[in-house]
């Protein structure tokens, strides 16, 4: 069944492609050592998009406020580094429960009502978080951002250097670990039940899937992923600003995911790569107005059809996806 969707490539070829993808990602440390800072950004954005993919691509939950958890993770890690310990792994570990609790509690809000209400509530949540961060200036630094974060060496050995070597490696390894975990997750019975819910919640309920509980679980997991991405962002850039909670973050990550295609895990990573390179190129051309071209891209993407664009050039890569996917890429209303 997997072969039917893999565009005719066999399992071995797929495995080879996958290994090549990650080998390239790690090889970039030596191949393009001057670009590690932007690669670090790509890895983090990829992780963020991956977390949205779990939510949107697999469970069909549309969110326009996913930056809430990114920001929460970033602020947690930043504050942890400032006040408790500068150890990066401890900071990462601190962000996880915070994001998990926020994801769990907010899931009760998010899962109420229809698509439309959900859109609103997610935007509202991110805005409330942004407003809290803005107003609690004594803790978060308000509009000035959280400054003066100094990170200790990773595992007590590798210090964060100016060129982003440690930062990139740290982000990439975290991404790889979480990616593999996500792949296990979506291929598990739990992941299958999510897809059943996405395709038809009523039918899923009828065959005995505990719909609400499953959705709460995936929402919490996605929040944790986003929180970790935020923590990585705070630790590797050593700065947190209100921008991490801004609405355009949530919109951008949606775009990233859509560029790469939803529902096959690699979509977020490919999208992050394309998006960041595109942003870099466009910002070089028209520094102030690059959002115009992003907007145009979005409009074209929708008018031409998301499927057609992502299916063409990525058909080969799609074979990399672990499971049989992509039957119903767009989450249905309701």
């Amino acid at each position: 069944m997997a072969d039917a969707h893999s565009g005719g490539i066999g399992r071995h070829a797929r495995l080879a492609l996958e290994v090549a993808f990650w080998a390239l990602a790690f090889g970039a440390l030596y191949l393009i050592p001057r670009k590690l800072l932007i690669l670090n950004e790509i890895a983090i954005l990829g992780l963020f998009a991956l977390s949205l993919d779990l939510l949107l691509g697999y469970a069909g939950l549309l969110s326009l406020g996913h930056a809430a958890f990114l920001g929460l993770g970033a602020y947690t890690a930043g504050l942890f580094a400032l006040h408790v310990s500068s150890d990066p792994l401890l900071g990462l570990a601190a962000a996880i429960p915070v994001a998990a609790v926020a994801g769990l509690l907010s899931s009760f809000l998010v899962l109420r009502g229809s698509d439309l209400t959900r859109l609103m509530v997610t935007v509202g949540l991110a805005t409330v978080f942004g407003e809290i961060a803005n107003k609690a200036a004594s803790i978060t630094g308000g509009a000035d951002g959280l400054q003066g974060i100094a990170m200790g060496p990773l595992l007590g050995v590798w210090t964060f250097d100016l060129f982003g070597r440690t930062a990139y490696l740290y982000s990439l390894i975290t991404l790889l670990v979480l990616f593999l975990a996500a792949r296990r997750l979506v291929a598990s019975p739990f992941g299958l039940s999510l897809r059943a819910i996405r395709d038809n919640p009523l039918r899923a309920r009828a065959v005995g899937v505990p719909v609400t509980r499953r959705l709460i679980a995936i929402h919490t997991i996605a929040a944790v992923y986003a929180g970790i991405a935020g923590a990585l962002l705070a630790q590797t850039t050593q700065f947190v600003s209100l921008d991490v909670l801004a609405l355009h973050r949530s919109a951008d990550v949606l775009l990233v995911l859509v560029i790469g295609g939803t529902g096959w895990l690699y979509g977020g990573l490919v999208g992050a790569l394309v998006f960041t390179l595109l942003q870099d190129a466009l910002a070089g051309l028209t520094p102030q107005y690059w959002h115009f071209w992003v907007g145009l891209l979005l409009v074209m993407l929708v008018l031409v059809g998301r499927d057609r664009i992502t299916r063409g050039p990525l058909a080969l890569l799609r074979g990399l996806a672990s499971g049989p996917e992509r039957k119903n890429p767009a989450p249905e209303a309701g």
Binding site: L56, L62, L64, L109, R112, G113, S114, D115, L116, T117, L119, M120, V121, V123, G124, L125, T127, V128, E131, I132, N134, K135, L247, H248, A251, L254, L255, V258, Q288, Y289, W290, H291, F292, V294, G295, L296, L297, L298, V299, L301, V302, L303, R306, A330, P331, E332, A333
Partner: protein, 284 residues
């Protein structure tokens, strides 16, 4: 106290005019149009350009802003929006966010990123004494204009032939088409009026909401609140929601400035938690 109430009412009225078009496209036609604020911004900028550069008097600029954005609305509806009516919500969200980005960057490019001001005519500036409190004349003007619009909308939607055609088209497009109603035209016209009203709202509200290229994103959430909290079954629902939002926001910013915009979001979340279908929605 009364000043705050009147300011809040004026604010809420503007929000209503801005959002009422959205309550039709989003609520009735079930199309998630996040670019609604872009039309409002267009109306605001049209007024600024007309009054300050072309020398058109303010009172003439308002209907022109309405017409200009209505025209833009109908063109976009015929060329782009129409194709997306039956697409999934994700597509509509992406598409309209794309439009917002484009509109923001274009305005930034054309007019610069600084805040724009509408020069009010002499007759509307200053304050007058009303029931012992000083009230801005412009606020009263807004309340009067918006009041007229609300009454007109209500009577058109519930009383006129067009209103019944619209309701029929929304209820069941296929049957309406079978009865000889030109559904596409009804939708296009509705969309145009909705965009035009957004433009009018943007023109009226430029003074109290502020106008700069980030307008569509900044106020998108406000429009959405009005629509979702107000429900979509009548004009009255969004109207009351807009008033409530306006007064709560103004009062909140006045009495507890440290919480700022916070109150309305919490209020919205609480309302949606208790009544996911909106505060004033009838059960379907």
């Amino acid at each position: 106290m009364l000043t705050i109430v009147i300011d809040g009412i004026a604010y809420g009225m503007v929000l209503f005019i801005l959002a009422v078009g959205l309550s039709v496209t989003l609520g009735l036609m079930n199309f998630v149009n996040l670019a609604h604020g872009a039309f409002a911004m267009a109306g605001g900028y049209a007024t600024v350009v007309l009054t300050s550069r072309a020398g058109v008097p303010f009172f003439a600029a308002l209907p022109l802003a309405f017409l200009a954005t209505a025209l833009a609305g109908i063109v976009l509806e015929r060329t782009l929006y129409r194709r997306l009516y039956d697409r999934p919500h994700l597509d509509q969200v992406l598409f309209s966010i794309g439009l917002v980005y484009m509109a923001m960057a274009s305005i930034d490019w054309l007019m610069g990123s600084q805040q724009q001001f509408v020069v009010l005519p002499e007759a509307l500036s200053g304050r007058i004494e009303l029931l012992g409190v000083a009230v801005g004349r412009y606020r009263l003007f807004i309340i009067a204009v918006c009041g007229v619009v609300v009454l007109a909308l209500q009577s058109i939607l519930s009383g006129s032939r067009f209103g019944s055609q619209l309701r029929a088209s929304v209820d069941d497009a296929r049957v309406a088409r079978g009865l000889g109603i030109r559904v596409n035209r009804v939708f296009a016209l509705t969309f145009a009026v909705g965009s035009g009203l957004a433009g009018l709202g943007g023109a009226l509200g430029a003074e109290i909401l502020g106008l700069d290229p980030s307008f569509p994103l900044k106020f998108m959430i406000y429009f959405l609140i009005v629509v979702t909290v107000g429900g979509t079954s009548s004009v009255a629902g969004p109207f009351l929601a807009a008033l409530l939002l306006g007064i709560a926001d103004v009062a909140g910013k006045y009495y507890v400035p440290q919480f700022g915009a916070f109150i309305i979001y919490v209020l919205m979340i609480v309302v949606l938690l208790i009544r996911p279908q909106g505060l004033f929605a009838r059960g379907r």
